[in-house]
C-alpha cells in the first residue's frame, strides 16, 4: 500500500530533487516548500471505483491555523509506542518520516517553530475544498463520499457565538455526507436536533439510546444507526458510533435522557444486519471512539471492513489492520483529509489504498467561494475576535499528556484572579498554537476555551479528596485497557507538582504531591478553582461571587500582562519513562 511518505520519495526522485552535501547524496523529499506543488499532495495510486474522504476533529477551525502535535504522549506500558501513543521521535521512526519535511512538520512537534515559518498554516475549509473538488474531478463526484467523525461543531469563537451554525454551513459547503458526534452534544440535545435540521449530511449513531423511562424515546435509538449509500456501483453500509463517554466526559445536563456507551453487542448486530439482510458490499464504521478504543472494537466485533476513527487526534499515515478490519484516523483541526480508495469486486472488498493528505495552505490554493464564506461567517465577530490582547514570548501550544504552555497560561490567569491554592483545567486535546513573538488575539482565547460551560468555579476540597480525584483522572488516562480510557490527557494543574508512575496500579500512581511547594496535607482544606469539568460537584462552599467565564478571565489576564512569558517546564515528574515520546517497550 502506498503512503504519502513514499510518494514524496518517488516524486522527489522523479523531479531530481537530490542535493549533494558534503559529498553525500541525500534525498530531501518535501523539505523545500518551493519544490512541493499541490500536484504532489494530490498524487495518489488510485484503485477501484469508490473513494471515501475522511475528516475528524475539525473543532470548528474553518480558517487555517498553526497546530503543533504533542511532545509528550504517555500511556500504560502495554500501549506505549503503539499507534495512538506515538509522537515526535517515536512517531517519526515508526512511520519513516524525513526530518524537517512537510510531513514531519504536520505530524510531529519537532523543529516546529522553524518549519511553521517555512511551510505556513494548516487546514482551512477553503483549502480543503480545493482538494476535495480535485479528487471528485479525478474520480467522478458520484463515486466519492465524504465522512466526518465528529467534534466538528465546537472549538472556536465563531462556533460558540453561532451555537454551531457557522460550522454546519461550512460542512454543507464542503459536502459532508455523513457524520457522528461528541462535542456537538455540548450545545444541548435540542440544539443538536435543530442543527441536524440545517445539516445536509446524515447524522447517524448506533450507540445513543433514550434512557428516560417516562419519555417516548425510552430504549429507542435517537438517531438512525446506519445508512446505506451507493458509490461506484457498490452498496456501502456506514454505521455511526458517537463518543461513548459523552455523558461522563462532558456535563450530563446537555444530554439528559440520552444514554451513550460503546454498545458493542448492538454494533455487531448492525454489522450482521447490513451484511445478511441488506447485502452490502462493504461495512464502514464511522467512529468517535478514539484510535486505541477502535483497535479494541476491531478485536471484538467481526465483519467490519473499515473503521474511520476520530477523537484522539492522531495523524496516522498508515492504516492499521486488526482482525481483517483496517482502521484509519485523520489527525485534527482540519490539518488533513484521509483519502481511502476501495476496490470492490463481487460484493467484496478486494483491496484499498490510503493516504493522509496534509492540507498545507501555502501549497493547496484556496477556493474563493470558501474564503468568501469564512469571511461572511466571521464578519459579525471580527471586532471582538481580532482584538490584540498581548504578545507571547514563547510558543503557546495545547496538548501533551501533563502540561503545555497555553494551559499553563490559562492556569496562571486563574491563579492570579481567583487567589486559589490549586487550579484544575481540562485535558482535552483541541485548541490552537500561537508562535513565539506573535500577537495573542481574542480569537485565540476562544480557540483554547470556547465551550458552552465556561464557568470557573472556586470552592473548597479536602487534601485527601484532591489526591483521590487525581488518581481517578490518572486511571481514566492511563488504564491499561483502552475500553476504560476516555481518550483525553491529564487535567492541567496550577499550584501543584507531583511525580507519577504511569504503570503503577490504579490508586497508586501519584507520589510527592506538593501544593504551593509543601507536601499535600490530607486533612487540610484547600481552595480550588476549576473549569471545564465536574469537580465543583465534589467540593464545598462554592464562592458564587467569583464565578466567571474562563475566556473572560484569560482575556483580562493577557491584557494586564501585555507580554506573556510562560515557562515550558512541566509540573509533573514522570518516573517510569525517560522521555515524552517513548517507543514500544518504553525506550527513548
Amino acid at each position: 500500500m502506498d503512503i504519502s511518505r513514499r510518494d514524496f520519495m518517488q516524486i522527489a526522485a522523479a523531479l531530481g530533487l537530490v542535493t549533494v552535501a558534503n559529498g553525500c547524496a541525500t534525498t530531501v523529499p518535501g523539505r523545500n516548500p518551493a519544490a512541493i506543488g499541490a500536484k504532489d499532495l494530490y498524487n495518489f495510486n488510485a484503485t477501484g471505483k469508490v473513494t471515501l474522504l475522511h475528516m475528524c476533529d475539525l473543532h470548528a477551525h474553518i480558517k487555517p491555523l498553526y497546530w503543533r502535535e504533542p511532545s509528550t504522549l504517555i500511556s500504560a506500558p502495554n500501549l506505549v509506542g503503539t499507534p495512538g501513543f506515538l509522537c515526535g521521535e517515536s512517531f517519526s521512526k515508526h512511520y519513516g518520516l524525513e526530518p524537517s519535511s512537510l510531513d514531519a512538520y504536520f505530524d510531529t512537534h519537532m523543529d516546529f517553530e522553524a518549519l511553521a515559518k517555512k511551510f505556513g498554516k494548516m487546514g482551512g475549509i477553503a483549502h480543503m475544498k480545493t482538494l476535495i473538488d480535485e479528487i471528485k474531478r479525478q474520480r467522478g463526484a458520484e463515486n466519492v463520499m465524504f465522512l466526518d467523525s465528529g467534534d466538528t461543531w465546537q472549538g472556536t469563537g465563531v462556533a460558540l457565538k453561532t451555537r454551531g451554525e457557522a460550522i454546519v454551513k461550512a460542512q454543507n459547503y464542503l459536502g459532508v455526507d455523513v457524520m457522528v458526534g461528541h462535542w456537538e452534544f455540548t450545545y444541548g440535545k435540542e440544539r443538536v436536533q435543530e442543527l441536524i435540521g440545517k445539516l445536509d449530511a446524515k447524522f447517524i449513531s448506533q450507540n445513543v439510546v433514550g434512557d428516560d423511562p417516562f419519555a417516548d424515546e425510552y430504549e429507542e435509538l435517537i438517531f438512525e444507526p446506519y445508512t446505506i449509500e451507493e458509490r461506484g456501483g457498490a452498496k456501502i453500509g456506514i454505521i455511526g458510533q458517537s463518543f461513548p463517554f459523552t455523558s461522563t466526559a462532558n456535563p450530563k445536563e446537555f444530554t439528559q435522557g440520552w444514554s451513550f456507551g460503546l454498545r458493542l453487542e448492538t454494533l455487531q448486530e448492525y454489522v450482521n444486519e447490513l451484511r445478511k439482510e441488506h447485502k452490502v458490499d462493504c461495512v464502514v464504521v464511522l467512529s468517535h471512539d478514539g484510535f486505541s478504543v477502535d483497535q479494541e472494537v476491531a478485536r471484538k466485533v467481526h465483519g467490519i471492513d473499515f473503521i474511520l476513527s476520530g477523537h484522539t487526534h492522531d495523524p496516522s499515515p498508515k492504516p492499521i489492520t486488526i482482525n481483517g478490519t483496517a482502521i484509519v484516523i485523520a489527525g485534527s483541526h482540519g490539518k488533513y483529509i484521509g483519502r481511502l480508495d476501495i476496490d470492490i469486486q463481487d460484493h467484496k472488498v478486494k483491496g484499498y489504498e490510503y493516504k493522509l493528505i496534509p492540507i498545507a495552505s501555502n501549497i493547496i490554493p484556496a477556493d474563493p467561494a470558501g474564503v468568501k464564506l469564512v469571511n461572511e461567517l466571521y464578519a459579525p465577530f471580527d471586532k471582538e475576535f481580532n482584538e490584540v490582547l498581548g504578545q507571547t514570548k514563547g510558543t503557546l501550544y495545547k496538548r501533551d499528556t501533563f502540561h503545555s504552555t497555553f494551559d499553563q497560561l490559562i492556569n496562571d490567569a486563574i491563579m492570579d484572579e481567583m487567589t486559589c491554592d490549586i487550579s484544575f483545567t481540562p485535558g482535552y486535546r483541541w485548541g490552537t498554537t500561537v508562535l513565539a513573538g506573535d500577537d495573542i488575539l481574542m480569537d485565540n482565547v476562544y480557540e483554547m476555551c470556547g465551550i458552552t460551560y465556561p464557568n470557573v468555579y472556586t470552592f473548597e476540597l479536602q487534601g485527601k479528596r484532591i489526591a483521590q480525584l487525581l488518581e481517578d483522572i490518572a486511571d481514566n488516562v492511563f488504564n491499561a485497557n483502552p475500553l476504560y480510557q476516555q481518550g483525553g490527557d491529564m487535567s492541567r494543574l496550577g499550584g501543584v507538582t507531583y511525580s507519577i508512575t504511569v504503570g503503577a496500579k490504579a490508586g497508586e500512581r501519584i507520589s510527592k504531591l506538593m501544593i504551593g511547594g509543601k507536601p499535600l496535607d490530607p486533612n487540610k482544606t484547600y481552595i480550588v478553582s476549576s473549569w471545564g469539568g465536574n469537580l465543583q460537584s465534589a467540593g464545598e462552599n462554592l464562592q458564587e461571587d467569583k464565578i466567571r467565564a474562563i475566556y473572560d478571565v484569560t482575556r483580562d489576564y493577557i491584557r494586564r500582562k501585555k507580554v506573556v512569558d510562560v515557562s515550558n517546564t512541566g509540573n509533573v515528574t514522570l518516573l517510569d519513562y525517560d522521555c515524552g515520546c517513548p517507543a514500544k517497550g518504553g525506550g527513548c
Binding site: 461528541h182 462535542w183 434512557d211 461513548p244 463517554f245 455523558s247 461522563t248 466526559a249 462532558n250 450530563k252 444514554s259 451513550f260 456507551g261 460503546l262 453487542e265 481540562p426 485535558g427 482535552y428 486535546r429 483541541w430 480525584l469 481517578d472 483522572i473 486511571d475 481514566n476 488516562v477 475500553l483 476504560y484 476516555q486 483525553g488 490527557d489 491529564m490 487535567s491 490504579a506 471545564g532 469539568g533 465536574n534 469537580l535 460537584s537 465534589a538
Partner: protein, 155 residues
C-alpha cells in the same frame, strides 16, 4: 420487594443447605444486620460454602464506564434450557464494593422460560459487579465485570 425476596431467598438457602454456616455468620455479625455482609459472607450465605464457578454460560452486560453511578444498567442472561430437570433457580446481583453488597435476588422457575434479568444498580465507587447463579442441580455459577464510576471531566 426485592429486599423481602432476598430475605426469603436467604432463608431458603439456609434451609435447603441445612448447614449452620449462614446462621453462624448471622450470629457473629448480628448487630450489623444482614445488609452489612461482606461480599464473601453474602455469597456464603447463599451458597452455604459450595464452590462458585465462573462460567461462560452466564452473560453479564454492564457498561465499562458508568454514565451515572446511581443507576447503572445491568443485564444478566444465563444459557439454560429452563426445563423441569435443568433450570436456573435464582439470579443474585452483587456490587462487590458497596457498603451493602447485595443488589437484587430473583427466584425463577421453569415457567419463566428464559433465565434473564435486567435491572439497575447503584454503585458507590468503581468496582466489580457480580452475578451469582443457582441452578436446579445445585451448582453455583458466576460472572463479573468491572464498572468504572468516575467524576469524569476530561473531554
Amino acid at each position: 420487594m426485592k429486599r423481602r425476596s432476598f430475605l426469603r431467598g436467604l432463608g431458603l438457602a439456609a434451609a435447603a443447605s441445612t448447614v449452620v454456616v449462614p446462621s453462624m455468620v448471622m450470629a457473629a455479625e448480628a448487630p450489623k444486620g444482614p445488609n452489612a455482609f461482606s461480599i464473601d459472607a453474602a455469597v456464603q450465605a447463599i451458597t452455604g460454602g459450595k464452590p462458585v464457578v465462573a462460567s461462560p454460560k452466564v452473560h453479564l452486560k454492564a457498561p465499562e464506564i458508568a454514565e451515572n453511578g446511581a443507576v447503572v444498567p445491568v443485564t444478566i442472561e444465563v444459557d439454560s434450557p429452563m426445563t423441569e430437570d435443568d433450570y436456573v433457580k435464582a439470579i443474585h446481583v452483587f456490587a462487590t464494593k458497596n457498603s451493602n453488597v447485595r443488589c437484587a435476588d430473583v427466584m425463577l422457575t421453569p415457567a419463566n422460560g428464559k433465565a434473564m434479568l435486567a435491572t439497575r444498580v447503584k454503585l458507590g465507587t468503581s468496582q466489580d459487579v457480580m452475578a451469582l447463579i443457582e441452578t436446579s442441580k445445585g451448582e453455583f455459577l458466576s460472572a463479573s465485570q468491572n464498572v468504572k464510576v468516575t467524576i469524569g471531566g476530561c473531554g
